[in-house]
């Protein structure tokens, strides 16, 4: 049956086409290749990680090879969905394989994205409201090859009491697109866990917050020692909506997160907090783009990196305030600790402000653990290792301060502490 809205109908008809249809693939690829000037921008955006140098050839070879075969490479959607009062799920919690659509109660659903988009026109409409080009070569490649990932649908006005937890284990070469739809006035708490296992994954996750929607969205990344993991978030927020986003990167050879936020309606707010522990021989590269498209919005970035061994930690925080986005509040803080003299931190604030009536700030610190504080603790009988743990835990603790769901807060502290032994004492 045809959908009354012709636009939506058009998308429904081409639904599979949204996900790596041959024509889409060909057109995206030609689009990328036809924009050599953008490659310069890509290079700039990825300049410190060498992801471009190390992997672009691999990607383009893949792109060329794939564009010659008619049947898209098969990608299997893997993952689990829990709805739970306690983030460490028990046997009685709703649990579903991501391949199966799951009823989360009150009309909320989780499951394969394509199926959810077909069932929920409001969700589809929101999905279509995201601009197609990510202005990012890896996001575009994802668009060219993507298959549908997980969808989460929270209808208008629904307040989810339970925590929705998604556990994903990305397969080799995976390029998936997931979508979290949070209807007007809804409230939800999500824990999205990525544990990529192959050598390469390049995923996109869209999140849409309708008017006055509130969401607490926590992402944890723990990838294998050989994984290059690229993840793109695209968040779009309407009037009065509020998101508290936390990201914890606790492992992996090379992790790149692009967190793109568009505050599209007035009085929307976005808190973006992150903590990265970068172990020996690893790279973490976090790139935030906070676009204050509407007036009277608030954003706050707080990113902390702990670099150990011979590691590289990169933070780029962009704040864009167009000239009509008056009365904007936008803050950014990047705090970094080097545990090893061989480690390197790069932190870049990028503020582009065209409006007059704004309050913006940015600040960055890079340093070692405070030797005076270490001595103070030791002079009270606390051993060196324990003292280091206390100070690192204190450093990390600030990231958790505005994580409001108490059970989630406790669970994530434990999760991070379990993965990063140095952080057992996050207070």
């Amino acid at each position: 049956m045809a959908h009354p809205d012709p636009l939506i109908q058009k998308y429904l008809e081409s639904l599979s086409g949204m996900f790596a249809d041959e024509d889409v693939r060909a057109s995206v690829l030609s689009e990328i290749l036809a924009r050599p000037e953008d490659v310069v921008a890509y290079r700039e955006r990825y300049k410190y990680t060498r992801i471009w140098e190390d992997f672009s050839d691999e990607y383009f070879a893949l792109a060329e090879a794939e564009s010659r075969v008619s049947a898209p490479r098969k990608q299997v959607l893997a993952g689990k969905i829990y709805s739970t009062a306690h983030p460490a799920p028990g046997a009685s919690d709703i649990l579903a394989e991501a391949l199966t659509r799951t009823d989360l109660g009150q009309g909320a659903e989780a499951g394969p994205l394509a199926e959810l988009l077909e069932r929920h026109p409001d969700m589809l409409e929101a999905y279509c409201s995201f601009p197609e080009s990510g202005k990012d070569v890896f996001a575009d490649l994802n668009r060219a090859f993507a298959t549908p990932g997980i969808g989460i649908y929270i209808p208008q006005g629904v307040r989810m009491q339970q925590i929705i937890r998604v556990v994903r284990a990305a397969g080799q070469g995976e390029m998936m697109r997931s979508f979290v739809y949070l209807g007007d006035g809804s409230e939800s708490t999500l824990w999205w866990e990525e544990r990529p296992e192959g050598s390469l994954a390049n995923n996109v996750c869209h999140a849409f917050l309708g008017k006055d929607a509130r969401a607490e969205w926590t992402q944890t990344f723990c990838s294998g020692a050989q994984t290059l993991f690229i993840h793109h978030n695209y968040v779009r927020q309407l009037t009065g909506s509020r998101m508290q986003h936390h990201v914890f990167n606790v492992g992996g050879r090379s992790v790149r997160l692009n967190h793109n936020v568009s505050l599209s309606g007035p009085v929307a707010s976005h808190e973006s907090h992150g903590l990265c522990y970068i172990g020996d021989a690893s790279v973490s590269d976090v790139d935030i783009r906070m676009e204050h498209t509407a007036s009277d919005c608030t954003s706050n970035q707080l990113y902390k990196q702990i670099a150990d061994g011979n590691s590289l930690g990169i933070f780029t925080g962009r704040i864009l305030i167009p000239k009509d986005s008056q009365r904007t509040l936008a803050y950014q803080k990047s705090n970094n600790i080097q545990l090893d003299p061989r480690s390197m931190i790069r932190t870049r604030p990028q503020l582009e402000i065209y409006a007059d009536d704004v309050k913006c700030s940015h600040g960055a610190t890079v340093g070692q653990l405070d030797s005076e504080a270490l001595f103070y603790l030791r002079s009270r009988g606390i051993g060196l290792q324990e003292a280091r743990r206390l100070l690192l835990g204190a450093f990390a603790g600030e990231v958790f301060n505005d994580m409001e769901h108490p059970a989630l807060n406790a669970a994530i502290r434990q999760y991070v502490g379990n993965h990063v032994l140095l952080l057992e004492d996050i207070q």
Binding site: R378, G383, A394
Partner: protein
């Protein structure tokens, strides 16, 4: 208890201590006075193991063991306490967690079982009231947002919690008003016993009205140039330090 023999210490090749000799026996209170830059705080730092100072000669024995070979944490566990001239603020580490770790590590070293949470809280409350430290401060991060006087009270509170054998008070009186000084001194005096010793580093005789020393030493250019009883402090107050400087004594 503590025996310092011909102690030399320097920081980045600049000698600070140039042959300090001092013996402290249980039950005694020693005051170390001296002009700015004479090495008083360096002596406190070397005794507690701050690694920015290099000990270039001499020896320090604490209860029969070579103190200089011990880590700062082991010195603390063995009963040495330094009340810092400038207590460090440690945002994000709560006083309660800090003290619980500190007390239990010290107890472990002495072969005692850890305090139960209830015992620990009781002890915290008792000792905080001893130095009139606001209970609210105890629930905050270590020294964060404390006033100068509160930080010093907090040092004495920690001392009371840890029950050290040898307390070194490094200018605990600086920045204190008269009332705070009295409270801090009361705290110190409450802990005096025949087993415990105290070394008070100060610029002013005033503190010694409250914490009465058995011995007063004058440290000048890295050496103890004069020792005496409490009357020496009064004399210093009246005459200053100049008369003690070796160049003025021929």
């Amino acid at each position: 208890m503590l025996s310092i023999k011909d102690l030399h210490a320097s920081i980045k090749d600049t000698p600070i201590l140039r042959g300090v000799n001092l013996d402290v026996r249980p039950g005694e209170v020693h005051a170390i006075m001296g002009p700015n830059g004479s090495g008083k705080s360096t002596l406190a730092s070397v005794l507690t193991g701050r690694d920015v100072f290099d000990v270039t000669a001499g020896e320090v024995t604490y209860r029969g063991t070579n103190l200089l070979e011990m880590s700062p944490e082991d010195r603390a566990r063995a009963g040495i306490f330094l009340s810092f001239q400038y207590p460090v603020e440690i945002p994000g580490v709560s006083m309660a967690n800090f003290m619980r770790l500190s007390v239990n590590e010290t107890r472990k070293y002495r072969g005692l079982p850890p305090l139960s949470p209830a015992e620990f809280l009781k002890k915290m409350r008792e000792q905080a009231s001893l130095v009139e430290l606001d209970q609210k401060l105890v629930s905050r991060s270590v020294n964060e947002g404390f006033s100068g006087g509160e930080k010093k009270r907090n040092e004495i509170f920690q001392m009371a919690m840890l029950e050290p054998l040898l307390s070194i008070l490094d200018e605990t009186d600086s920045g204190l008003d008269i009332d705070a000084l009295r409270v801090v001194a009361q705290g110190v005096n409450a802990l005096r016993s025949p087993e415990r010793a105290t070394v008070v580093i100060t610029h002013y005789q005033r503190l010694l009205d409250y914490i009465v020393p058995d011995y007063v030493h004058v440290l000048y250019q890295g050496r103890i140039v004069r020792s005496g009883d409490k009357s020496l402090a009064l004399e210093l107050e009246a005459r200053g330090y100049d008369w003690l400087k070796p160049e003025n004594n021929g």
